[in-house]
Amino acid sequence: MLRLSRCYSLASIKFVQNQSTVFRPEYALKCGLEIHTQLKTRNKLFSQSTNSATPLLDTPNSHTSFYDIALPGTQPELNWEAVLFAMKLSLALDSQVNTISQFDRKHYFYGDQPQGYQVTQHYRPFARGGKINLSKELDGIDELSKDISILQLQIEQDTGKSHYTNADKDVVTLVDLNRSNVPLIELVTNPDFSDIKQVRAFIKKYQNLVRHLHISSGDLETGAMRVDVNLSINEFARVELKNLPNTSSIINAIKYEYQRQVGLISKGETSSLMESETRGWTGSSTVKLRSKETTIDYRYMPDPELPYINLAADVISGVKGIMPQLPDDIMKMLMQKPFELSLKDAKILTYNSNQNDMYDHEALRSYYLKTFHEFSKLVDEHSSAKLPTNWIIHEFLGDLNKLRIPLSKAQKILPPVVFAEFLKLLHAETISPTSSKLLLFHILETFKQSKCQDLSIPDFPRLIKEFELHAIDNVDSQELIGLCNDIIVEHTDDAFVRNLVSGKKKTSLKFLIGQGMRRSQGRIKPSEFEKQFKEILNIQW
């Protein structure tokens, strides 16, 4: 059977014996990552064929041009969209974009490598330096703050894919060149990682960044993002780990390899750790793929026909000008005044979870910020920051999920200005929170019943009147006294009252108020009930 030199198989991960790995200070882990990220450009890197967004569904070899299959006489034509994407990523990572970078050929034979070489950037990469900052606050690492520095970024071609089938005795390799020549960015970090948490946090953060920049799906599962690991312990030779199809295999492979090497070192069997080698991950252990002696010489050669990528300074500054705000900055902004979101809520507005089909985080963030802004204008004070947060991220989103209404549609009847009006009613205590919940759900449910076609903006005053949701300002005192007495009779006994009045069990008052709210359907303010209960029961505290 043919042996792969670069295999990113989707091999299922077997159960890993989960002994908790102990990272011991006397065996210092030093680890770096090499991440390949597929760019979601419209076309491939050097040809006009489609760069498919749904690679797993495509007919093999359906997205191939004459160039992609390396027909004689074909030539590469650089796709500048890939360069733009690379520039965005470099700037987001604070990397130094080289004004001149060049393409080089990396030679090795393989069935899914139609040219016999891969075009990459070896001698003059696209960008150097840069970093991703990890922090305890945002990323949950142990250190207060840690920078993972980046060595370089390069643009290169992806290879095709080989599929192995056993037909009788023969092993047949099927080659699919749909992926051949898809643009990749290879990012290499310095070996700055010293524990697993940092690795996990980095991958998550990088993944979110490429999604945030709209340059890649960032999915490990589809192979759009692929991570290789290099690690060494106590300055022994570097070991590279490959074939790591998802985050758990990355983490488990590092743990396994750490344990393996610590075992060897503690037994004094370090001879195999003197020379660097490449190891693959089987799902439960790492196995040697090749050592230094069997590594082939890639015979890098400057590509003789592709021109240099020559970037004028104003091109780089121009791209800087169109860069979106970066996730960490957005997080910080959201967690500070005036928004003061919790970490969890800020993440909902910043990270693409790919898990909710009713909204995407960017549209939601924009809706939130606009509504917040409109609301601030109406109430003219910043003390009520919690109101937009709770009502948009929790109540409103909850309703949308429940009713299966996409945010984009709901926005049509509840644009930020209207939602701000709604919040103002709450803020002014025109309606109680309980009534508001009913009202919001009613509005959305009616909208859903119209198949999201009735786009008339809700008339809040009319609806409040119609459903008698008005909070009662001038409560009829006899009615209130009667209501409170009823509740006391129905829900209390002597011990209850004794403990409440003496202040031994103050929370009982809340219970009584809650009953009052329920009876009045939230139309009488809790403060009115509190006053009345205290008066009737003669509570002094």
């Binding site: 027909l71 004689p72 034509e77 069935g111 139609p114 080659v175 890098y300 003789p304």
Partner: protein, 464 residues
């Protein structure tokens, strides 16, 4: 003016000539059919041409004279072929060559060597290569013109040996899209013909920017060249000391001096000039071109097209070795040499150094020419020259037997033939070889500054 009336005759003569000189690899059974009469119009209507078999065509197989591409037919036409068809040209067939363009004798072909038709009654003489069939097809009057490719002299040497005109335009002027790469920092499509007017018309049809070729000269730079162009009646012409004319046979020297006298009588001025880096040309060329070749030929693994070993894809752990063992000896030599130069150990010492020396050579050419170089940005030397004269070869063609003997002693013996042609390839200069005698193949190259193709063509027209 075109040979149309003789096309039938050509076809009739072809089989006779073919068995004698081995000019073609494939021939059209109906060359008229390849032209759509309605669509075509233009100055090349009804001209007959041959295409070197390393330029891809839909209507013929394209083999590069290699076992590796046996029976390969391209699904698309090279840009130059497309342009010719659009201009109404009939393509007679695909011509024999040294495998993948590697060779200067025209003998390294799966189809066997091309025999020089200038010597019908003697021992089989070499045609020169690698565009050997291209030159022979013109020399035999089978076609009005031929397209060849020139990497280090592959159009000029066989043109010289066939006593015809052979033009290697400035690098990047003619599209290479569909030209099977040997060493694409040097590969140039060239035109061979007996008549300067035909050659010029063909050049003008093909001289276009092609977006599919990343090395194609941009319209912007083409415009700049036209702007820089000055028509001069009296030219300053240089003779390069380093080419050491004194070492050439008497017969050659006499031809040159006769020619120089003619030029002086026409009012041109002749100057001696020194280009010291010329002496580095062969080492530079034989470092860079095999490296590029080794890289370009990596794609021939038999999987997607071409020959594939019927039994094995892997031998002794080496992928595709059984298929790739079918390359010819000269190609194998160059692949090995090229890979050696690209090995991480040798790369800095050889490849990088050769690239640096190539830049030095270009700079020296820039210093002696009056015309600006739009690629390097050299302004042009106000006291500089308009043209250079360089011999095309230092000797007359020998027998195929002798050529093979010398090459078997040392492969570098045949490499030395390239000394007069390689410097202009390295600098991408427009160069046209002209025959100085009618039946004796003594050729002289007219060399212009990069981009200044028209001065070269105008000059040759003025003296013909």
């Amino acid at each position: 003016m075109p040979l149309k009336r003789s096309l039938k005759q050509s076809l009739q003569r072809l089989s006779n000539l073919e068995s004698k000189y081995n000019i073609f690899i494939s021939v059209s059974s109906s060359p008229y059919k390849s032209v759509n009469k309605d669509k075509t119009s233009g100055i090349l209507t009804d001209y007959v041409a041959s295409i070197k078999d390393n330029i891809v065509t839909k209507d013929f197989p394209t083999t590069c004279a290699s076992h590796i591409l046996e029976n390969f037919t391209s699904p698309y036409d090279a840009t130059v072929v497309k342009l010719l068809k659009q201009a109404g040209v009939h393509i007679l067939g695909k011509t024999n060559l040294d495998e993948f363009g590697m060779g200067s004798g025209g003998i390294h072909s799966i189809k066997g060597p091309v025999i020089n038709p200038l010597y019908p009654h003697e021992d089989k003489m070499v045609m020169g290569g690698s565009s050997s069939g291209a030159a022979a097809s013109v020399a035999c009057d089978l076609v009005d013109f031929a397209l060849g490719t020139d990497t280090g002299g592959s159009v000029r040497l066989p043109a010289c040996y066939g006593c015809i005109l052979g033009f290697k335009p400035s690098y990047g002027r003619l599209s290479r899209f569909g030209v099977i790469a040997y060493s694409q920092s040097l590969d140039t499509v060239g035109i061979l013909s007996k008549k300067i007017d035909v050659l010029r018309n063909v050049f003008e049809v093909l001289d276009k920017y092609d977006k599919k070729d990343p090395t194609s000269l941009s319209d912007e730079l083409r415009g700049l060249i036209t702007k820089n162009k000055k028509v001069r009646k009296s030219l300053k012409i240089g003779i390069v000391k380093e080419f050491n004319l004194e070492g050439l046979p008497d017969e050659f020297q006499e031809s040159y001096f006769t020619f120089l006298k003619k030029l002086i009588s026409l009012g041109h001025e002749i100057y001696p000039v020194s280009i010291p880096s010329v002496k580095n040309s062969l080492p530079i060329y034989y470092t860079l071109s095999p490296a590029e070749a080794a890289s370009n030929l990596s794609r021939y693994d038999g999987i997607r097209y071409g020959y594939r070993d019927p039994d094995l894809d892997i031998k002794d752990g080496v992928l595709f070795a059984p298929t790739r063992s079918k390359f010819g000896m000269e190609v194998k030599n160059r692949i090995i040499l090229g890979n050696y130069n690209l090995c991480s150990g040798a790369f800095k010492n050889n490849f990088i150094k050769a690239e640096r020396l190539r830049v030095d050579l270009v700079n020296e050419f820039d210093e002696i020419f009056r015309f600006p170089n739009v690629l390097t940005g050299a302004k042009g030397n106000p006291y500089g020259l308009d043209m250079l004269l360089v011999p095309t070869s230092s000797k007359l063609p020998g027998t195929i037997k002798k050529f093979q003997e010398e090459e078997s002693k040392s492969p570098t013996n045949s490499y030395i033939n390239d000394i007069f042609t390689v410097p202009m390839s390295l600098a991408g200069l427009p160069t046209l070889t002209i025959p100085l005698r009618e039946k004796t193949p003594i050729g002289l190259q007219i060399v212009g500054q990069y981009g200044d193709d028209s001065t070269v063509l105008d000059f040759v027209k003025s003296i013909s």
